[in-house]
């Protein structure tokens, strides 16, 4: 009988709660459907912005962006909704298709921007005049927001350059110097790296390696090669063969410590220096243990043979948003040096604007790096990188290549075999791509 009582209590509770839910939700519902007040401002005097923007993203720092924009334009309210995880894309797609509860501005990650960029629900920012704002942008950052028709559809507020980080003490021990310029020179090409790597391995008696992982070559090569799909056909840049052989040599000569990017061993090697050089993006410093400032001045940054970047977030406007003008002001704001300068100081994220790079090059410091000004190195590297517009296959094809070729390096497979099984995977996953 006790159970019955207990159960009927639960049922009663449910009834009450469910009714409460109904009430609560009606009040909270309908996010983002309030049209902005688009009163035309008086002809004279600066236009004061008013209205409400809904921004969708997958990470929480966008709130800060909204807050800064609100601070600048007190009449504006920015509501930031965060949807973490892979399925953010599914949610965005579903919402766009239904046309209800749609955000005015939404974030797209670099990994899948190519799939969204040509969709008809993303507003053409070029037509609204964004190109003017992007004239001093780092080319690769700007071009990643360009659709197939040549118009800009999305804008990023940062670049995410990577290069070689090293522990100064270890560099002295194994390379004979900790000077960034000298080291940059010593590792200026892959051939030099292999030769130097052999020496480091031998001189340390097999205890230290020059690089963390041969796979770093993929990351660096990925954005310095031709697009994977051209005119509907699979296009394997001939440079990949060289890169592949470079990796094989790196592996065969013990140049790398075989530690995967961001793995536990990788993090340990970065901190204790069993590998001299760690190829990593500027944002990966959270892996460095800086408790009680013990890593201050511990590191140096040298140029990698070619520039590379990892990750990036782009922001677009919903084509049918009733607040397009205001949304455009928001995009313009994140493209401005004003915001990017603030963001650099606050989070250390490298800017997208070349001007911000130049203005801070001599002053911006990272305490882990001591006196070195890392922006100089990053600026040179990012400027060299080709601007490539995204397409819907690029990233997925690259990840297949990374998988198959990475496996090939481990098993020491020949390049031709790797290409053959790569083609098989691509053909299966994307029947629309012509594979010969």
């Amino acid at each position: 009988m006790k159970t019955t009582k207990w159960f009927s209590m639960m049922v009663a509770l449910v009834m009450v709660l469910t009714i409460a839910a109904g009430c609560g939700n009606n009040a909270g519902g309908n996010a983002g459907n309030e049209p902005a007040q688009t009163d035309t401002p008086p002809a004279d005097g600066p236009k004061e912005l008013e209205g409400k923007l809904v921004v969708w993203t997958f990470f929480d720092q966008v709130k800060e962006m909204g807050a800064k924009f609100e601070e600048k334009h007190p009449g504006v309210k920015v509501e930031v909704n965060i949807f973490p995880g892979d399925q953010y894309q599914t949610k965005l797609l579903s919402a766009m298709q239904s046309g209800n509860n749609v955000p005015d501005v939404f974030d797209l990650e670099r990994g899948y921007i190519g799939k969204f960029i040509d969709a008809n629900f993303i507003a053409d920012l070029s037509a609204m005049g964004i190109e003017e704002q992007l004239t001093d942008y780092i080319p690769y950052v700007r071009e990643l927001g360009r659709a197939a028709d040549g118009t800009i559809r999305a804008v990023s507020d940062h670049s995410s350059p990577g290069s070689f980080w090293y522990i100064r003490e270890n560099a002295k021990k194994y390379l004979g110097t900790d000077d960034p310029d000298q080291i940059s020179e010593m590792v200026g090409s892959w051939d030099k790296i292999i030769e130097l790597g052999k020496k480091v391995y031998e001189q340390s008696g097999g205890k230290a390696y020059l690089m963390q992982n041969a796979g770093d070559v993929f990351d660096i090569a990925a954005y310095n090669t031709e697009p994977w799909v051209k005119d509907g056909k699979l296009n394997i840049d001939p440079k990949w063969k060289t890169y592949y052989e470079t990796q094989q040599q790196i592996r065969a000569n013990n140049v790398d410590a075989k530690l995967g990017f961001m793995s536990a061993g990788w993090g340990n090697a970065l901190n204790d220096g069993t590998a001299v050089l760690s190829a990593m993006p500027a944002w990966a410093t959270f892996m460095i243990d800086n408790k009680d400032d013990k890593a201050v001045g511990k590191f140096g940054v040298a140029k990698s043979p070619e520039g590379f970047y990892t990750g990036g977030t782009y922001r677009g406007i919903y084509e049918k948003s009733p607040n397009k003008e205001l949304a455009y002001e928001f995009i313009k704001y994140i493209a401005s040096p004003e915001w990017q300068e603030y963001n650099l100081g606050k989070t250390g994220n490298m800017p997208a604007s070349g001007k911000v790079y130049q203005d801070n090059m001599d002053t911006f410091k990272v305490n882990l790096l001591g006196d070195q000004n890392p922006m100089k190195i990053y600026y040179e590297l990012v400027n060299e990188m080709p601007g490539i517009a995204p397409d819907k296959y690029g990233e997925e094809v690259l990840s297949k290549w990374r998988k198959v070729a990475g496996q090939g390096i481990t098993d020491n497979t020949s390049y031709d075999d790797v290409v053959a099984s790569f083609k098989k995977e691509v053909k299966n996953a994307f029947p629309d791509i012509q594979v010969d």
């Binding site: 709660l17 990470f59 720092q61 408790k291 994220n349």
Partner: protein, 283 residues
């Protein structure tokens, strides 16, 4: 067989018991250690978490906690999740027991076929259905409400299956008969006589559906829009910077979210036993 089984008991029940307890404890350790590590991890900084399994407490708990509450309204999420989970679990238990009992004890036409249909609904992978589900909820105007999260408790094929099997083995037909003789209606028989008998099964299903709902990530993420309406798992996963997750803060969130599960589990786990006492008295 007789010899083999009795010998150790006769020779040394203590040895047999020791072996048994060692076995129990060994397995318990494999389950406890990762769980313990989860708590410990919440007291460390991000740079440590990604590098090794942690077993010694660190001193970063409050820092991690502060970063967590700075970015998300975690206690609001806690309340939301409790509300959704409790409502869902109650609906789920009641209707699963109802249908399970119906399938078990009433010999209606097409019973076998209908039951197979119920099982069949579990066999289609749900990952893609989420798109259709979104469209449907949009059409029914239920987006950004808790209705889709709670009402789906009615149609839980897994629960119905479990309750049917429990009813098959623990509800004697004589009890139903005696209820009918006493002049109870069919539904009051179910409420007054059957539900108490099914208590062990209800507690079991309660554990499953409570924990499952508590940890549900995808549906709330897709259905809800306002940050303040979101559930704990979604809020916890939101604590990330542009490029990487803030594991330290996320682990604090996970610790917060595990506590109610443990409480609910220990209450329900005892019910599995006490239900039997009730059943024994009846029987």
């Amino acid at each position: 067989m007789n010899e083999a089984t009795r010998e150790p008991m006769r020779l040394g029940p203590i040895v047999a018991k020791t072996v048994m307890y060692l076995f129990l404890i060994l397995i318990a350790i494999t389950c406890l250690v990762p769980f313990y590590s989860m708590f410990i991890t919440s007291t460390h900084a991000n740079s440590d978490i990604a590098r090794s399994l942690l077993f010694w407490p660190g001193d970063q708990f409050m820092e991690n906690y502060n970063r967590l509450i700075e970015t998300v309204n975690i206690w609001r999420g806690f309340a939301n999740t409790i509300f959704i989970t409790v409502a869902f679990t109650c609906l789920n238990l009641y209707f699963a027991a109802l249908a399970g009992y119906g399938f078990s004890k009433y010999n209606f036409k097409y019973r076998g076929g209908l039951f197979l249909f119920v099982l069949g609904t579990m066999m289609i992978p749900g990952q893609l259905g989420i798109i259709g589900f979104y469209k449907l909820m949009n059409a029914l105007n239920m987006l950004n409400t808790y209705w889709p999260l709670i009402l789906t408790g009615i149609r839980d094929a897994f629960g119905i299956f479990l309750m049917k099997q429990i009813a098959d083995s623990s509800v004697p037909n004589e009890i139903i008969e005696s209820g009918r003789i006493d002049g109870y209606g069919e539904l009051s028989i179910f409420h007054k006589l059957i539900l108490p008998l099914m208590a062990p099964g209800l507690a079991t299903l309660g554990i499953f559906s409570f924990i499952g709902k508590w940890n549900d990530f995808l549906t709330p993420m897709i259905i809800l829009f306002d940050n303040d309406l979101q559930t704990l798992p979604v809020m916890i996963a939101s604590v990330k910077s542009q490029f990487s997750s803030d594991f330290g803060a996320q682990y604090v969130g996970i610790v917060i979210s595990v506590v109610p599960i443990l409480i609910f589990f220990s209450i329900m786990s005892k019910r599995i036993i006490s239900g039997v006492a009730a059943g024994a008295v009846k029987g």
